[in-house]
């Protein structure tokens, strides 16, 4: 059913929402308790976004909502009705003309170049978080990058190379 301001939607009812995900407009029916993360992974097969802790502590589920990085595990899909979502699958599209020869976003190229991952589980979150951080524009030094990326845990410990990759892209003029 459609959401009407001020009218309760009963607990067993699915509600209609619209989201633009990686540039594609979608009309969706979701139960109110569906997190944005579960919607992406379980309903839309966008499994690039990872479920790590599911409690906002690890950052593996980081996506961009209207260009801003957030933990998709702590966000209900129904609350984001009307928003634009970018996941790791959509980063190359976000880069547009900035995309490299193999169609990747510059930050993805830089992660490969700098060997900024080992097992790769945290990487989609690291990538989305990096793009969000660069767009925020508050981090400039290496210390500031480390602080601004502290919401993304890498248990393999690739931090040094992750910061190298981000610095590299920032030196080329940042993200888009």
């Amino acid at each position: 059913m459609l959401i009407e301001s001020g009218s309760p939607v009963a607990a067993d009812t699915k509600v209609g929402i619209s989201l633009t995900i990686n540039g594609q407009h979608r009309e969706l029916q979701v139960a109110p308790w569906t997190t944005l993360l579960d919607l992406l992974r379980e309903h839309l097969d966008l499994t690039g976004t990872k479920k790590g802790c599911d409690h906002g502590q690890c950052g593996a589920c980081t996506v961009l909502v209207n260009g801003t990085r957030v933990n998709s595990c702590l966000t209900l899909a129904v609350m984001k009705d009307g928003a634009e979502i970018t996941t790791v699958e959509g980063l190359s599209g976000l880069a547009n003309e900035g995309a490299g020869t193999n169609g990747l976003h510059p930050i993805q190229e830089a992660f490969i170049e700098h060997d900024a991952f080992q097992c790769g589980y945290c990487t989609p979150g690291q990538l989305c978080s990096s793009v969000g951080m660069m767009n925020e524009g508050h981090a400039h030094s290496r210390d500031e990058i480390r602080e601004a990326m502290s919401g993304n845990i890498c248990r393999c410990g690739a931090y040094t190379n992750i910061v190298d990759a981000i610095e590299d892209v920032m030196a080329q003029g940042g993200a888009r």
Binding site: I3, S7, G56, R146
Partner: protein, 337 residues
């Protein structure tokens, strides 16, 4: 997560109305704490009232100070040019907390209403007077390294986890609320409660009341301030002890002192006697040590957190020194100068 009714509110009145008669309703804004607690079954709201579409996201001039809308995100507030210029203590405290992703989602009102991170409160397999009144407090005989040393009760030794609120306490902010009985203004010191025999109540908000804004007064603590946060790792961790210090100086003499501590009590901890002691005194280590001794004299630590009293004493002295010198703690370079 339990099943719940969902209401999207278009106006504050609609939000307040949706609360009336709804069993265990909760307002939701950023969701960063509430959704987490719902996943642990600590919170099981029968109804969620989505207030994210209310027009409460602005930061505006107000009575010579600033009025921060309840839905302004932590990041919006921390990076606002007016906040940074006039209330840098608040900006620094916000940036000392959580992660960038959480600050992008978390709201001002929600920050005030976040719940303790006491392990026993989160673990539904253990008793907890805050979660289930009357069931007991295992923290008192248990693992209590992170718990309170001030204002505890035999029923609860939890701490309030916010950094932002420690700065708001020092700045003597006012919380504007709207509810079934109309609007009212709550001084920050009276917003949060000590646990007493009702630890399930974190604040003095009445049922159905919604935070509308947090107002900052026209006071100038922009030169002599610091937010000093001490924790187990240098980023993205809750405070063991934090200090918000703000001074107005007349030459080398203290005109006004504001001091609030985080990580040590059920609410941001202030000691007005200690602040009064500093008034008219030279801004020296000796004065600051006397104030710190007065604050810490009240500490009643548990078996696992006696270190917090000494840590607080030293953090107060260092924080007041940083404030007096006009060299606030850097939020990225964590070395303590």
């Amino acid at each position: 997560m339990n099943r719940f009714d969902y209401v999207r509110a278009g106006t504050v009145a609609e939000a307040v109305q949706a609360f009336a008669g709804a069993e265990s309703a909760r307002f939701i804004a950023g969701g960063t704490n509430l959704i987490d607690l719902m996943k642990y079954d600590v919170e099981r709201p029968g109804r969620l009232i989505d207030i994210t579409r209310l027009p409460l996201g602005e930061i505006a001039e107000h009575d010579g100070g600033l009025r921060i809308g309840a839905l302004a995100t932590n990041a919006t507030v921390a990076y606002d040019d007016r906040v940074r210029a006039r209330y840098p203590l608040l900006a620094d405290a916000i940036l000392a907390g959580a992660s960038a992703q959480l600050r992008n989602a978390a709201s001002t009102g929600g920050n005030l209403l976040q719940r303790t991170r006491c392990y026993y409160f989160y673990d539904t397999g253990t008793p907890c007077n805050k979660r289930q009144p009357g069931s007991g407090c295992p923290a008192i005989q248990g693992v209590n390294r992170i718990h309170a040393i001030f204002g505890t009760s035999p029923h609860c030794i939890a701490t309030h986890p916010s950094d932002m609120c420690v700065a708001l306490a020092a700045l003597e902010a006012k919380v504007q609320v709207s509810g079934p009985e109309g609007e009212r203004s709550i001084p920050f010191a009276e917003f949060h409660r000590l646990p007493g025999d009702q630890p399930e109540k974190d604040t003095n908000l009445r049922p159905g009341e919604i935070i509308v804004s947090v107002d900052l007064a026209d006071r100038d603590f922009s030169r002599h301030y610091t937010y000093l946060k001490l924790r187990d790792r240098l980023s993205y961790a809750f405070a063991l002890v934090s200090v918000a210090a703000a001074l107005e100086l007349d030459g080398d003499t203290v005109k006004t002192a504001r001091l609030a501590l985080g990580g040590v009590a059920h609410k941001p901890w202030r000691n007005e006697e200690a602040e009064a002691l500093l008034q008219g005194k030279p801004a020296t280590r000796e004065s600051f040590q006397a104030a710190a001794d007065l604050v810490v004299a009240e500490a009643k630590p548990q078996a696992g957190n006696a270190f917090k009293a000494e840590l607080a004493r030293r953090a107060i002295v260092r924080g007041l020194e940083q404030a007096a010198a006009g060299t606030p703690q850097s939020i990225t370079d964590k070395r303590i100068q």
